[in-house]
């Protein structure tokens, strides 16, 4: 049945990698990911985990070694953050094209120079076009469960794509909460050993996937199709995982406290937990605002979102990122949502909020402010600001 322990997000990710029996872990330390790889190193030193830990000299090498190991048939886990993720970007394009199901934790941290060591989502969102599946997790429990699910999704032969499990530095990575650790035997039954049916680098069994110059578009379309298929697989995996381990995450999008509600806002990552508390408080006060959690950003849940959009008159999108000079000055998630909903005849009103930039805390008051703005828009039928930089508003608290 497993045990419950106080685990930090990074420890939970390490437990996920251990339970998934990752065989090769090439990694390079970077705050706030460091505790994750040092936990794995101690698992290996204690003999609890049987894996090759490659102490590489940089993230660029970490991802290349991950590619080599995955191509040679090993289950691979790695992790990075911020500058490290961007340093490995050159290599990040390879696994989707080679269809290698590497799992990587992207421990979100703001990019230099206008940010500290704490999180916003620009580092992982910069990788949105590479072909990696991207999950955004809320807390330790979800991180642990998602790492295991990530292998199940990525190694599915309909998918064969790498998966990024993203979570906020500090607010998720260093936050300890009681976390249920599944039983190894149950995970083994759920996640059989990795065997790639398309790619094999072993002498005598060699098989490769290559895009030849005359059909590059076709090769790219194959990746696009696999990404689309991943949506169904993610739903399936969420269900099958829940049946065994008792925890469900509603696939790509979760609606929280949305019964009979027509105005919602959408969050990603650790701020979702804070938003749940705010929603409970304001609904008790009679304010009818609900919450949508975006758990999976790639593949983008277009159909699911369209289905939800029919129910809601107003959707506020909370972006913990910036895209300087973007359309309407929007955040990245808002732009994607707008594109997904554009083809609907009856479109909800969209609001966009920038919050938690450069690693600043997303507070209860800020979320309350967002909820109030969403409610205003619902009542008046129009948005006061197309894009609202919440942190520039004086909400009476500083830390």
């Amino acid at each position: 049945m497993g045990i419950i322990r106080m685990l930090e997000g990074n420890e939970a990710a390490a437990w996920g990698a251990k339970l998934a029996r990752a065989e090769v872990v090439p990694a390079y330390p970077i705050t706030p990911q460091t505790e994750l790889i040092s936990t794995i190193a101690s698992f290996i030193a204690n003999g609890e985990m049987k894996a090759q830990y490659i102490k590489v000299e940089g993230e660029h090498t970490a991802m290349a070694a991950a590619i080599g190991a995955s191509a040679a048939g090993a289950r691979v886990f790695t992790a990075s953050a911020s500058q490290g993720i961007v340093f490995m970007e050159e290599a990040l394009w390879m696994p989707p094209g080679m269809r290698l199901p590497i799992v990587m934790c992207m421990v979100n941290r703001a990019m230099a120079p206008i940010g500290g060591l704490r999180p916003d989502h620009n580092d992982s969102l910069l990788q949105r076009d590479t072909g990696w599946i991207q999950f955004y997790c809320e807390n330790s429990q979800e991180i642990l469960d998602t790492v295991i699910q990530a292998y199940k999704v990525g190694e599915d032969k309909r998918v064969y794509l790498p998966v990024a499990v993203c979570y906020d530095g500090y607010f998720a990575s260093a936050t300890a909460t009681p976390t249920s650790i599944p039983d190894q035997k149950e995970v083994d039954d759920y996640l059989p050993p990795y065997k790639h049916e398309m790619y094999n680098l072993m002498p005598g069994e060699f098989r490769t996937i290559r895009g030849f110059p005359q059909n590059i578009a076709k090769a790219r379309y194959e990746v696009q199709k696999a990404t689309e298929k991943a949506k169904g697989v993610i739903e399936e995996v969420d269900k099958s995982y829940g049946e065994i381990f008792g925890r469900y995450y509603d696939g790509a999008l979760e609606e929280y406290a949305c019964d009979g509600i027509e105005a919602v806002f959408m969050t990603m990552g650790s701020m979702t937990g804070t938003a749940r508390d705010v929603i409970d408080e304001i609904q008790a006060e009679g304010k009818k605002v609900g919450l949508i959690k975006m758990r999976c950003f790639r593949p983008f849940p277009t159909e699911e979102l369209r289905k939800l959009a029919k129910k809601y008159k107003v959707i506020g999108i909370v972006d913990r990122n910036t895209s300087y000079g973007s359309a309407s000055g929007s955040g990245i998630v808002a732009m994607e949502v707008a594109r997904a909903l554009y083809s609907l005849d009856d479109r909800p009103l969209l609001l966009n909020f920038h919050v938690g930039l450069g690693g600043s805390d997303v507070t209860m008051r800020q979320i309350r402010y967002i909820a109030d703005k969403v409610l205003d828009a619902y009542q008046t039928g129009k948005a006061e600001d197309e894009t609202d930089w919440v942190e520039l508003k004086d909400l009476g608290e500083v830390m």
Binding site: M6, L117, Y170, F171, A174, T177
Partner: protein
């Protein structure tokens, strides 16, 4: 929900201390959450840790701006404005200072002030250090002053965190904090 804010200097063990307190509460069947806020892993500099205890799962991950209790691991930190900030009226302060609690003024009417000379105890237990280790001593003080966790519940997490002889030494420090803390029920 009880919200506690720890302040320490880097190297004093604020993060481990808060985690031990969370583990202790968890072992008593409560839900607990610890969020540290610090820079890199270097020593020195200030460290803030947010700790929440509740009877139901804790979901919010934001910082604590109006703590029910303030735990300060070093007397010098009381001079830092941010440390005193947001303390609730009728809240609790557990401080590493060598004064009587009656002499302490944090500028807010509190319900309880507890003081303990953790720096002095630390020197006796661990020997003198540039950055005195005060975390486990303060945990004992928190246990006695608030009753939110039992002293005995702290033993397991402390022994787990400090393997070998240092485990017992740290629990001894914790026990001294428990015994030597001076608690003033100022609202009475």
């Amino acid at each position: 929900m009880i919200e506690i804010r720890f302040h320490g200097m880097g190297g004093q063990g604020a993060v481990m201390g808060a985690l031990a307190l969370a583990e202790a509460a968890f072992s008593e069947g409560k839900y607990a959450q610890k969020i540290p806020v610090y820079g890199g892993m270097r020593r020195g500099g200030d460290v803030t840790v947010f700790l929440r205890l509740d009877d139901k799962p804790i979901r919010r991950t934001s910082g604590i701006y109006e703590p029910d209790a303030l735990v300060v691991l070093d007397p010098t930190l009381l001079n830092v404005a941010e440390v005193r900030k947001g303390l609730k009226q009728r809240g609790t302060a557990i401080l590493n200072v060598n004064n009587n609690p009656e002499e302490v003024d944090l500028g807010v009417p509190l319900s309880k002030i507890a003081t303990v000379d953790a720096t002095g105890i630390s020197a006796e237990v661990f020997g003198p250090r540039a950055i005195p280790i005060t975390n486990t001593i303060m945990l004992g003080a928190v246990s006695r002053a608030t009753g939110w966790v039992k002293l005995e519940s702290l033993r397991g997490p402390i022994l787990h965190m400090f393997p070998g002889r240092m485990g017992e030494v740290n629990f001894e420090a914790c026990t001294r904090g428990y015994n030597e803390v001076r608690v003033w029920e100022c609202s009475k």
